[in-house]
Every structure is written in C-alpha cells, then in structure tokens.
C-alpha cells in the first residue's frame, strides 16, 4: 500500500486505541488545564446568585436526563445544586423522566453530603417524578400556584404544609427555571412559562445540542446556557471561585483567569466538584487528536491529488 493510501485509510481500530489512551490518561492524571468562562455561563451564575439569601425566591430545576448523558450533564446538576446550597438559595427539583428522577435523587444526595445543615423541605424541595403527560399542565399550573399544580413532594407530603413554601407561591417567586436536558431542552419553559408568565429560563445541554439553542440566547428567551462538559466546567469554576470563598460575583473578576486561579487549589477540591474540569482535560487532548487525524487524512488526500495531476500532465 502506498504511503498516501495508508495515511488516508488508517484502520479505525488504531484510531480507537489512540483515542482511548488520550482520554484515559488525562482522567487518571489530570493536567490541570485552565478553564475559560463564557458569557452564557457567567450570566446564569450571576442570575442565580442574585437570589442568595432571599426567602421568597427559588431556583426551579428540571432534570430531563437519562444515564446516557450522565458524563456531560451530571456535573452541571452538582455544580448548580452546590451553588444554591452554598449561597442559601432555595431549590425545587422535578423530573418528568423515570430515570431523570433517579439522577435527581443521586445528585441531591451527593451534594447534600457536603452540606449537613441543608434540610429537605426547608432549603430545598424534591417534587420527584411526574408523568410526561403532566408536563404542560404542571408548567402552566405553577403560574397560578405551585402547591396546587404539583400537589406533593417526592415523599408524598402536601406542598402547602411545607416550610419552604411559606413565601413562595408561583412563577413570581422563581428566580430561574433551569432544564438540564439531554433531549429538547427548555422549550417547555420557553413556550409556556416564559411566554405566558415571563419567568427567566436557562438550560444545560449536551455539547451536540448547544448550537441548536443559540437563537434563544440571542433573543433573551434563555438567560443562560451550559453547553456540554465545558459549560459544566465553567460553572464549577465560578462556584469554586466566588461561592465557596464567599466573594460577591464580579464580571471583571470572572473573566480574569489569573485572579481566579489564585482563589483555590484544584487538588484540594473534592473529586465530585471538579469532575467536569478533569473531564475537560481529556476532552482537550481528544479534540487535538481528532484534529491531527483530520490533518493527516487531508495531507494524504492532497499529496495523492497532486501526484494524479502530475501523471495527467505527463
């Protein structure tokens, strides 16, 4: 086989092996690459942070997920919940997916381990699983009264009797609805909650879906977007820098990488709260590798094309 043929037709098993090594090594030995933040993530962080310490405000999280999207979306779940618990922001969680409900339970338990003082039904309320068919009625119903639309929490207790509901009634008290989703993110809330009640909406999505949602960002129908593992890593970084250290959010500081890097030591951060940033090391190496393969393939293609052209002239 000619060299040009060979570099254009590398056996995909070799590609798989090289890529596997490129992904596994940075996961085992993190490179600690810096995390740059982008406006859609900073906007969401800032918006949630504005509800800190407010008794009559809550963040509404919809877990539209299944295990297939865990590597990308689960770090987002943890980062947003951690932010809320650190900054004393009330949280409501719901899922219309049976598997999403289990992920929601996992995320709440995992984050709560680090916050022994955070109490269910006081500081957060898990609405649990609701049938897919109830998505629209519940989403619209919350506009009038959350307690009437959702009725009970995951343990079957009536919402109107829970302490967390004291000053919270409907979308007027929802700081932002965040749908962290592997399917069609945010459309339910954009179409019904935002269009009818004016509530702010944000989404967390897999990297492949992120590009689909930029039109909604530009129009302001989405106030923030976490795109893939990178979005999760950025949010983790902002939580680590500001919320953990009790520093008020500043747009200027959020963009200042060297200042941010001085605020914490990544090696001291528990694994569960830095998993996206470690994952981004692997993703960075994988991206470079894929680009290299593309370049190799194209080099072979152009050499071959040139040789063919020369033959034709002769």
């Amino acid at each position: 086989m000619k060299f040009t043929d060979y570099i254009q037709k590398i056996d995909r098993r070799y590609i798989f092996i090289v890529l596997a090594i490129a992904v596994i090594v940075p996961l085992l030995f993190p490179l600690g690459l810096p995390t740059f933040t982008t406006p859609p993530v900073r906007n969401l962080y800032k918006h949630i942070d504005e509800a800190a310490g407010e008794d009559d405000k809550a963040v509404f999280m919809d877990f539209a997920q299944s295990p297939s999207t865990l590597p990308e979306l689960y770090p987002m779940d943890l980062a947003v919940l951690r932010h809320c618990f650190l900054r004393d922001i009330k949280v409501f969680t719901i899922s219309y997916y049976p598997q999403g409900a289990a992920i929601m339970q996992m995320a709440l338990s995992e984050v709560k381990e680090a916050f022994p003082d955070v109490r269910p039904d006081y500081d957060y309320c898990n609405f649990g699983y609701r049938s897919w068919a109830l998505r629209v009625p519940i989403t619209l119903g919350i506009g009038d009264n959350i307690a009437e639309a959702v009725e009970t929490n995951s343990a079957g207790r009536r919402l109107e009797n829970l302490p967390i509901m004291g000053k919270i009634k409907n979308y007027d008290n929802i700081q932002v609805c965040i749908e962290i989703s592997g399917a069609s993110p945010g459309y339910l809330y954009i179409n019904y909650a935002r269009a009818r009640y004016g509530v702010d909406v944000a989404i967390g999505v897999t990297a492949v879906s992120a590009a689909d949602n930029y039109p909604y960002l530009q129009t302001g129908q989405l106030i923030g977007l976490l795109g893939g593992l990178k979005g999760a890593a950025e949010y983790e970084e902002l939580v680590e820098t500001f919320a953990v250290n009790g520093i008020p959010y500043s747009e200027k500081k959020a963009q200042n990488l060297s200042w941010r890097q001085q605020q914490f030591e990544l090696s001291e951060v528990p694994y569960k709260f830095k998993r996206a940033r470690i994952g981004m090391d692997a993703q960075a190496v994988a991206h470079v590798l894929i680009i290299l393969f593309i370049i190799i393939g194209n080099v072979g293609y152009f050499i071959e094309k040139r040789q063919e052209k020369k033959k034709f002239i002769k």
Binding site: Q105, L134, M280, H287, L289
Partner: protein, 207 residues
C-alpha cells in the same frame, strides 16, 4: 366508527385547546382544570398499556425463537426485577432500586453514549476532506470550534475562542433560526390540518 370517533375526539379537543389558549374565560379555565384531572387517569392507563405491550412483544419473540430472543428474557427480567424491588423497598436513596440504578443502569447508559466519541473521531478522520470550497469551509469551522471549546485554543491565541463564539453567534444562529422557523411553520400547518380533519394518517389504516 373506528376512525370517526377518534377523529371527532381530536377535532373537538384540538379546537377547545385553541380556544382555551386565546380565550381567557372562566368556562375555558374550568374546562382546562377538568382536563388536567382526566389526563392523570389516562396517563395511568397508558403505563399499563405500555408495560403490557412490551411484555407481549418480547413474549412473542421468545415463543417464536426469533433472532436474539435471549435478550428478550433479559428485558423481561429487568422489567419485573426492577419494578419488584421498587414496589417492595421503595425508590429512595439507599434502596435496592437506587443500587440497581447507580450500579447497572447508569454505567451501562453512560458507556453506550461515550462510545460515540470513538465513532465521531473515526468518522471525522474519514469524512472531513477538503474536496470542495464548502467542505473546506466546514472543515476550517470544525477545527476552530473544536479548538475554541477547549483551553488549548485559548492558549494558542485568544482569537480562537473569540472566532468560535462568533461562529456560534452568527452563521450558526442564522442557519438554526431559519431551520426552526421552517419547522415551526410546518408544525403549525400540520396541526391545523389535523384539527380540521384533513390530515388523517395518524389514525392508521393506510387509506
């Protein structure tokens, strides 16, 4: 009769929901509240229907010894086993149900999706060739976005993340918006055709 009754249900309910959206009257609101109660009942029956259908499909596969019929046993065992532990011990943290989810379902699901990275790498290597102007543009955009979404891009030059953001905010946004507008108009037209009884293929029957 088999087609007329479902058709009438769709036409009547479709028109009532359109009215509910545009007419904020008490009657319209009461209708909607009443429908909310009904939908909870209907959903419960849908679960029974779904489980029944799944069992029948796999029972039939096992009975006929269809190709890969052994996996049907795995599906039925997973359905019955997971449901049983959920009913007996509940679905809260620390229950066998959550153990199955965390140690079987979650790793299997995540693994399947993670395989995509390998296929994407292989497909990108084979398909991304600068054969034409359009292909070259796509190739350059892909490389810039791939670099711009990781910190290495910024380490090379801050222009790469800036150009990435521009690609996402301008050409990508324009194309996505055009597609979404097209899809939206198509959905509206199809919905109207269904509500008015012009489009009936969803009823089945083939005629």
């Amino acid at each position: 009769m088999k087609r007329t009754i479902p058709l009438l249900i769709v036409i009547i309910l479709g028109m009532m929901f359109v009215m509910h959206t545009f007419v904020p009257h008490k009657v319209s609101q009461d209708f909607y509240d009443w429908f909310q109660k009904w939908i909870k009942v209907i959903t419960s029956f849908a679960i029974v229907l779904g489980v029944g259908s799944l069992l029948m499909v796999h029972y039939s596969k096992i009975k006929r010894k269809a190709p890969a019929w052994g996996y049907s046993w795995v599906t039925i065992a997973a359905l019955v086993g997971t449901s049983a532990v959920g009913f007996i011990w509940g679905i809260d943290e620390g229950t066998p149900y959550m153990w199955i989810f965390e140690n079987v379902n979650a790793p299997l699901g995540a693994t399947m999706f993670s395989l995509l990275a390998f296929y994407m790498a292989s497909a990108a290597y084979k398909a991304f060739r600068a054969r034409s102007m359009e292909a070259t543009l796509l190739l350059i955009a892909a490389i810039i976005v791939m670099l711009g979404r990781v910190s290495i891009g910024n380490a090379i030059t801050h222009w790469i993340p800036d150009i990435t953001q521009w690609i996402l905010n301008v050409p990508n946004l324009a194309a996505k918006r055009a597609i979404k507008l097209g899809v939206g108009l198509g959905m509206t037209a199809t919905s109207l055709k269904i509500i008015l009884g012009i489009e009936r293929t969803y009823l089945g029957g083939g005629k």
